[in-house]
């Protein structure tokens, strides 16, 4: 703690000078300040834990309602050992919604008042935390004032206040430079807001970048993109600064200009729609579809075997017709010798044949042991029980290229089988 006070004194002295003697010592001081601010943070954390532990006896729910260590310390100091919260005025310390919640919880709390000894210790700790906090503020102010000198490019993009905060949280310029841009974006991001309010309006994943001028002037719909852009460019600028690559700050200004232009471009309206003229009729051939569905559809209108038989005639044999004597529709080869039946079974479609083949190839069932119910009788939809398998005969007709006149399975019509 003593060291802190000393360094602070030295810092505020030099900040009164406002003038720089030489590069390095000043810079070293800034680096020290950054390290200091991180140390202060840690100290505050430790004290916060201490206060929490002590105050848990009195008011356990408070630590989950008020997250921020400094706010917690203030509230604890204000409440002290008081049981009735209506006598305590928390205005200005907390937002009114949180005050309300705190008051309500306090009325139903399971805590008991602290003994005198503990209370004093707690109040002391609170004081220390607050002192540390103010010290940190001073350090940051000092850093901020020198920011234009330390990191000109970074402050050209995000402004000196935010740059100082970023550096302070990161723990130094080189630490900031080593961070990836996504981390820089999140530096200083607040934790989830409680008290039962909706999180729909809470800005998500934005840290100190939120306080930059650029961010504040972008419309809300583009804010996330702007945040990412800013984080990326400021990381680059920080890297330039950490190596003292551009002490004049021109790179930073160039980046800022780039960012501004990009955000403007996002906001411009889309180009106007040009009405297209109609295409020349029949210039684009129709896209024919294929596939299983279409084939199944086509099967419904395909020429059946019965029709094929009716379309053909045997040489030399007059065909029968529906009205007799050559009048009416001709029956062709339907019902003539060699077939024996007027009815032609439907015949397995090509698709079903493929499916049946696949089915056979798959090793299905109980691996060899056939069901005791299989028989060589085939059940047809048309004629009931038939011994012969009608599927086997159905494809006898085949495609139109196979000639029935010269076919091997067809018979001579006049020669009787002996």
């Amino acid at each position: 703690m003593q060291k802190v006070e000393d360094a602070l004194q030295k810092g505020s002295d030099i900040s009164n000078h406002g003038m720089v003697l030489e590069d390095d010592p000043e810079y070293q001081l800034i680096v020290d300040c950054n390290a200091l601010s991180v140390e202060i943070e840690n100290e505050i954390m430790i004290i916060h834990n201490f206060i929490r532990g002590k105050y848990h006896v009195k008011f356990p729910e408070l630590e989950s309602l008020v997250h921020h260590p400094i706010d917690y310390a203030r509230v604890v100091k204000k409440i002290g050992n008081e049981v009735d919260l209506t006598l305590v005025d928390l205005e200005g310390l907390l937002p009114s919604a949180v005050i309300m919640v705190v008051s309500v919880t306090a009325s139903t709390t399971s805590g008991k008042p602290l003994p005198e000894e503990d209370l004093n210790k707690t109040i002391d700790a609170c004081d220390r935390a607050l002192a540390l906090d103010s010290a940190k503020k001073k350090v940051l102010d000092f850093v901020e004032s020198r920011m234009g000198y330390i990191a000109p490019n970074l402050s050209a993009i995000v402004g000196s206040a935010v740059a100082a905060k970023l550096m302070g949280t990161a723990g130094g310029l080189s630490a900031l430079a080593k961070m990836p841009a996504c981390n820089v974006q999140l530096l200083g991001a607040k934790k989830k807001t409680l008290a039962g309010f909706s999180t729909a309006t809470s800005q998500f994943r934005v840290g100190y970048i939120e306080q930059t001028e650029v961010f504040q002037t972008t419309p809300p719909s583009l804010r996330m993109r702007a945040c990412r852009l800013l984080a990326a460019k400021s990381t680059l600028a920080a890297r330039v600064d950490s190596t003292r690559g551009d002490p004049s700050g021109n790179t930073g200004r160039a980046f800022r200009e780039e960012i501004r232009k990009k955000i403007e471009k996002w906001q411009e309206p889309p180009p106007a729609k040009q009405p297209r003229p109609l295409p020349v009729p029949d210039s684009e051939p129709k896209k024919k579809r294929g596939g299983r569905r279409l084939r199944k559809m086509k099967e419904r209108y395909a020429i059946t075997d019965m029709r094929k038989l009716a379309n053909r005639m045997q040489f030399g044999i007059p065909e029968e017709s529906s009205l007799g004597d050559g009048l009416g529709e001709g029956y062709g080869m339907l019902g003539q010798a060699g077939n024996g039946k007027l009815r032609v079974s439907i015949g397995q479609s090509k698709l079903a044949a493929k499916v049946a083949k696949k089915f056979k190839e798959k090793p299905f069932g109980s691996g060899g042991a056939t069901s005791g119910l299989t028989s060589s009788l085939a059940f047809t939809p048309v004629q009931g029980i038939e011994l012969s398998n009608p599927q086997a005969h159905a494809n006898q007709l085949g495609s139109g290229t196979q000639s029935t006149y010269f076919s091997e399975t067809g018979t001579f019509s006049r020669i009787k089988r002996t």
């Binding site: 003229p277 109609l278 295409p279 020349v280 009729p281 029949d282």
Partner: protein, 142 residues
């Protein structure tokens, strides 16, 4: 880019217009520009010109200034629209009895586009006469 409808000031221009296009239908509106019906029809033609410009081109001709075609095409109505393909005049059966020209007012932009498309298709195939997609026979009630 809006397609323009050009005016044909003389018979030579009309001939050239019909002969110049190889790939597009040539549509010529005959009529005096001051007339109310003609103006309404022109309005529609202007709207349609840009949409069909890939397969049709539209021209305007004042048949009182250019009287050469009045007897040939029997242009006795206030407003007539005629269709040409490769210097040959296209006929379309509208149901009105006169297949040679469109001498009644059309009010719907889409109908006009359909008629132009049908005539174009028929012309491309080599037909001299096509059927209009909509029947206009009850247009004139006797």
């Amino acid at each position: 880019m809006t397609a323009m409808i050009h005016d044909l000031p003389s018979a030579w221009h009309v001939d050239q217009a019909c002969m110049s296009e190889d790939e597009r239908l040539v549509i010529i509106r005959f009529g005096k520009a001051d007339d109310r019906e003609v103006m309404a029809q022109d309005e529609l033609l202007y709207k349609v010109a840009d949409r069909v410009r890939n397969f049709a081109v539209i021209y305007i001709c004042d048949n009182q200034k250019v009287p050469d075609f009045n007897q040939m095409y029997e242009l006795y109505d206030k407003c007539t629209v005629m269709f040409f393909w490769r210097n040959k005049h296209m006929m379309c059966d509208f149901g009105t009895g006169n297949n040679n020209k469109l001498n009644f007012p059309i009010n719907d932009k889409q109908e006009l586009i359909d008629i132009v498309e049908v005539i174009y298709r028929g012309a491309k195939k080599g037909r001299g006469l096509v059927n209009s997609p909509k029947d206009y026979s009850t247009r004139y009630k006797y």
